[in-house]
Subunit: 370 residues, 2 copies
């Protein structure tokens, strides 16, 4: 895969973050490399030895990892040798084009924010996931799923623009339809936050605003919405609720299929067809979440990714580079004028420091893509 | 079914609120009456004519209904002849013991609040649903699912007590385990609202606080939690997300079973076993939501209830009367001391008027039980 400049795209991958270890990383990176993506793998050279012989893959020796239980801001600041910090720095230095990590979500977001910085006039980066909708061709992009625990209406408006730009540039959706997650379709339904954001979005000409959607519309096959915007707390709870519900229903189908011999025979006959359903709702299929609003590409994979999940994280990162996602987002944000009022206000009062722009400390651990 | 005083329990039922009309109301009320519950049915005597001959059932002539699209506070105030207003007044006057309605959720909540009033020191009533967990014996009680769009930490603490009291008295759970919905298990995860509520609940001895749960834990068969507390916005979004996800996965299984002849044979063999799954996640099975915190019993059914849903709404209302749910909730709230600080503060500043205690106007239309 080629960068807009014509050179091969290189992704910095934090191998130490993968819970599955080398058994998952080696085949995953190999699959991505077979697609023509160069990968700089931050991890243990001895454990990742088989990767050394693959064209375009380079293992950068690194043994230090930031765990899920560490306070992200302190850990990223205090441990410059940690794999995620070094991988992010690699992108900032221009040695890689994009960052992908299945490690601690908080640490990945923090390291990416510190190293890559925000796009001018973007107040808060947002974490976006592609919700796989069984039976629907294109996934629904939902953001924020946990980069910010609390949000202001102006943040939600920016999330709408960030999501729209990503959907158009990377997912190939022409003029994406953007909706707000609420508890009713009417403009006045929801919290004050949602009502204010609705009003602002309804008056925006830069994006195609579809109004409010409800929780039950998210996985609607016939849904006409491409991007769903919400605050990071609600988005994270919803993402995990979808995962939990799909899992519970799936297990119940499994139990039903074991309940008696006739059902068991039925289950066996049905199994191959259900397999494709399982893969269509598997978070590995979409490669995890992407942190939008930065001056670089950062993909936040699921810690429990399998090989396919690892490969897809790297593929998503490379595709975002190839499609100039960051540049196109910058253009859209600039054109839309979102953030200008905030910027004027910021001239008087100091802006939120980048250190607190991601709620890495008190915020959620979104376990993106889950 | 007998009230604590020994007399037969009478439920006021708003028949005009049922979308399915008499076809649903007649068999539903009949089934409830067969369980020994007396029902005063507010609706059209000619349409409900077959109910006239059933022992214990009385049709109260009423032709006026408040629709889903009406602003609840204005409608309830301005239309004393509407079925839900009259049914609620019937309970307040002592002619019925409890209210059940499958009509407009906003109008039902508002009419119930105006007629029945709040329990002393309860700041906000909350709407609670029983989440049917496939494979688990007892449902999980989640509240608030939409009575209040915004909440303060003190409200969440009260919701915990209201939910605990209902779970113990009506659902028969001994010392219910109560959790907060958040984005991580740690006490500091989540919005400031959740963090503050966590701290207050952790220090409470009146309930058994289990800490935070995440979205994926809600339908966990092995879950050790009986009551999940959240604000009305999040609860409503989550409830509808569960419904939408279960529906999407269910449809996908159906599509898989039609995808080829082998799968079709499998689907047919599996169908009987899947039927019990469907009924176990059917919102009709739990009879809808219940408005907690009032000095009377009010059950808010699903508008699209079938006959079983109607019968279960009435059964839940009657059971709450038989089990003295309101009295036991009052005792628990009093014993816990929750709300005392608020009451002292209220002596200086006027309390929130009952008229605004349910966000019926700008708030959600929770379509309870869905």
């Amino acid at each position: 895969m080629r960068a807009p400049g014509g050179e091969r795209i290189t992704v910095a991958f934090d191998a130490l973050g993968a819970e599955g270890g080398p058994d998952v990383v080696i085949p995953g990176v190999r699959a991505a490399a077979e697609d023509g993506i160069a990968v700089r793998v931050f991890g243990s050279p001895s454990a990742l030895e088989p990767l050394g012989s693959i064209d375009g893959v380079e293992v950068v020796a690194c043994e230090e990892v930031i765990g899920n239980d560490e306070e992200p801001v302190r850990a990223v600041r205090g441990r410059p040798g940690a794999s995620i910090v070094r991988a992010a720095a690699d992108v900032a230095a221009g040695d890689s084009h994009a960052l992908a990590s299945p490690g601690s979500t908080g640490a990945t977001m923090t390291a990416a924010l510190f190293a890559l910085k925000r796009i001018r006039s973007v107040q808060r980066p947002a974490l976006a996931v592609q919700l796989p909708v069984p039976g629907r061709e294109s996934p629904v992009l939902m953001l924020d799923v946990g980069a910010n625990t609390e949000a202001r209406a102006s943040h939600l408006v920016q999330f709408a623009h960030l999501g729209s730009a990503f959907s158009e540039s990377v997912l190939g959706v022409e003029r994406p339809r953007v909706a707000l997650l609420s508890i009713g379709e009417e403009a006045k339904k929801g919290t004050q936050l949602v009502v204010d954001a609705h009003e602002a979005l309804a008056g925006s000409s830069a994006i195609d605003f579809a109004g409010n959607v409800e929780g039950r519309d998210l996985l609607e096959v016939e849904g006409e919405v491409d991007v769903v915007v919400t605050d990071g707390f609600t988005g994270n709870v919803v993402l995990k609720t979808i995962e939990g519900t799909a899992g519970a229903v799936g297990s119940a189908v499994g139990r039903a299929a074991r309940s008696n011999p006739m059902a068991m025979a039925g289950g066996l006959l049905l199994k191959p067809a259900l397999g494709s359903l399982r893969s269509s709702i598997d978070p590995d299929g979409t490669g995890g979440a992407i942190l939008l609003g930065l001056r670089g590409v950062a993909v936040v994979g699921h810690g429990s990714s399998g090989p396919e999940g690892v490969a897809n994280q790297i593929r998503v990162a490379a595709r975002a580079v190839a499609e100039r996602a960051v540049e196109r987002t910058e253009e859209l944000i600039k054109r839309s004028g979102v953030g200008r009022a905030e910027q004027r206000r910021s001239a008087a009062a100091p802006t939120v420091a980048d250190e607190t722009a991601v709620d890495a400390g008190s915020g959620g651990e979104p376990e993106a893509g889950s």
